[in-house]
């Protein structure tokens, strides 16, 4: 087709009537991550894992009814929180895997393909860009965290609705949703920070996988050496998030052999995970700030 045979006229519409710029960046970023075939394929095994949790809820309810038949109904404090803990803990690794598959290029791709030049030749601020990219990861990660929690938690609450445990279950589901939000924000910030440091998505994937796996390995080794102590959990991101999850869903832990109830954790285990989460999040924000401060005049 010949050039300019279409009666082209200049756009005269309102250039302030569109969506906020951060939302434009976020929605486009989400679309780009979702466009990967692997993003869709990976959802199937992930949904299967969550389906197992739905079955487990049914199983739990059937067994409870069976053993409690003819006895007074289960009291709310009999819901230990193990289910919610397991559900939330699995999400750590699912989210890590999902980001490894599709989220690591969130900023690295812009650096590699120089689309960052395009962004900053438009009326967009660095804050719009960072918030937009952050939200794109949060929405993308929400597909395997918040969304399944709401669905599975909703089913669980429906199943427990007739029982007196409903209130306790609802509180714990709410705790998992709050935990999901913390998990999403932390992981999104860390992935963004790593992604901002290089234009090679492969390096970001390696760094992110190393960030998740190596401390977990170290934590496991130290845990084996220092049997019975809980602080080695704090050495890994997964362990730290697990401890935070425990406090949110009020899960006391699994009793040691020969004990009727789990031993109460030391006081520092209540605040140390949150301190680490805040420190990691702040470090990621610091890296992003440092990186974006170097973007002067990139067009």
């Amino acid at each position: 087709m010949a050039i300019r045979d279409q009666g082209y006229t200049r756009y005269e519409g309102d250039l302030t009537a569109g969506s906020p710029t951060w939302w434009v960046v976020a929605s486009n970023g989400f679309s780009l991550q979702w466009a990967y075939v692997r993003s869709k394929l990976l959802l199937f095994p992930i949904l299967f894992v969550f389906l197992l949790f739905v079955f487990a809820t049914f199983g739990e309810r059937v067994l409870t009814n069976y053993f409690m038949s003819g006895q007074p109904a289960a009291q709310p404090d009999e819901i230990s929180g193990f289910y919610e803990f397991a559900f939330g803990y699995v999400q750590i690794w699912i989210l890590a895997l999902y980001f490894t598959a599709s989220g690591c290029g969130v900023i690295a791709e812009d650096l590699r393909f120089k689309t960052i030049q395009l962004y900053f030749s438009k009326p967009i601020t660095k804050t719009d860009y960072i918030v937009g990219k952050f939200m794109s990861l949060v929405m993308f990660g929400g597909l395997v965290t918040v969304l399944p929690t709401i669905l599975v938690g909703g089913i669980r609450m429906m199943i427990f609705a007739p029982s007196e445990s409903f209130g306790s279950v609802a509180l714990k589901v709410g705790g998992v949703v709050a935990y999901d939000i913390v998990l999403l924000c932390l992981f999104s910030l860390i992935v963004m920070a790593l992604s901002a440091l290089t234009s090679r998505t492969g390096y970001v994937v390696l760094a992110w996988a190393g960030f998740m796996l190596i401390p977990s390995l170290v934590s496991t080794i130290v845990d084996l050496v220092r049997k019975g102590e809980e602080w080695p959990e704090l050495l890994s991101v997964a362990g730290t998030m697990g401890l935070a999850l425990q406090s949110l869903v009020d899960f006391k832990g699994i009793p040691q052999p020969g004990q009727l109830a789990p031993a109460p954790p030391p006081d520092y285990m209540m605040w140390a995970p949150w301190l680490i989460i805040v420190a990691l999040g702040s470090a990621a924000v610091g890296v992003l700030y440092w990186r974006t401060s170097k973007l002067e005049g990139i067009a």
């Binding site: 010949a2 009537a17 395009l118 962004y119 009326p123």
Partner: protein, 320 residues
Amino acid sequence: MTVLFELHNVRKNYGDFTALKGLTVKVEEGKIGLLGPNGAGKSTMIKALLGLLQFESGEATVLGHRLPEGGATVRRMIGYMPENDCYIPRMSAVEYCTYAGRLCGMPKGDAFQRAHETLHYVGLGEARYRKLGQFSTGMKQRVKLAQALIHGPSLVFLDEPTNGLDPEGRDQMLELINDVARRGISVMLSTHLLYDVEQTCDRALLLNRGQIIHYGAISDMTDDRKNNFQVRAKEGSDKLAAELRKRGATIEEDRGAMLLVTLPKEENSAFIFKAAKDCGVQIRHMVPYQMTLETAFLNILNDSKAEAPATRRGGPVVEV
């Protein structure tokens, strides 16, 4: 005429290096070529005009908005076509242009519709749903132009728009740029290719070492030698040159036997024939000397180098 931008003593440093040495210029709407050797400060000037740089000193106004505080407003009114590729290969041309439009503040529906229209306009109507990674160099250049035009800017900065294009693609791109200008959009073309500027622009802004060394109409740059002729004699060039000098003409030797003759004011070509007849020399070749933009550019550049010691220390160079 509407003033596109006005710079007053704009200075920009990168560490110890001064990229812009107190630029002062006032540019009106139209088609302007931004010329200069590598490292002249062309890219820095474009960044400055986009409101992306903090100046060390000076004032800048683009389309009536002061920089840097009005940077976002300015970028909304300007289209920028970067020199290098800047696209995600997985995006289609329509997605890319829609995204660019939305980043400029267009509503999603408008941006989507305009993306189609603009891609048709630049000749990519058939390829608008193809992934950008599959595009040829020429198509990439056109899609970059489309994203710069989608929101209806008053001014577009085109950075090396014909880079990597074959002759046909280059002519089409230049034709397109001319058409853009005909539709009331001012064009600022940054390029190393003087031919492109000659074909599209009516004015040129020459930069060298962070200073403006010339700003004015291209016709003024190339027409200042309209009283010049290239002359070749069958034999006795020296004799003819001596006769012409004696009658008040200025002679420069141009490629061997060819003489570049500058006639005295009020004289015409008959002056040369008369001199040749009088000294008995037969003229074999005589054409009016048409100075190319390239020659004019090199002359201005050489002149500025000669004057450099006086001006290198900064301060306004050209007041227009």
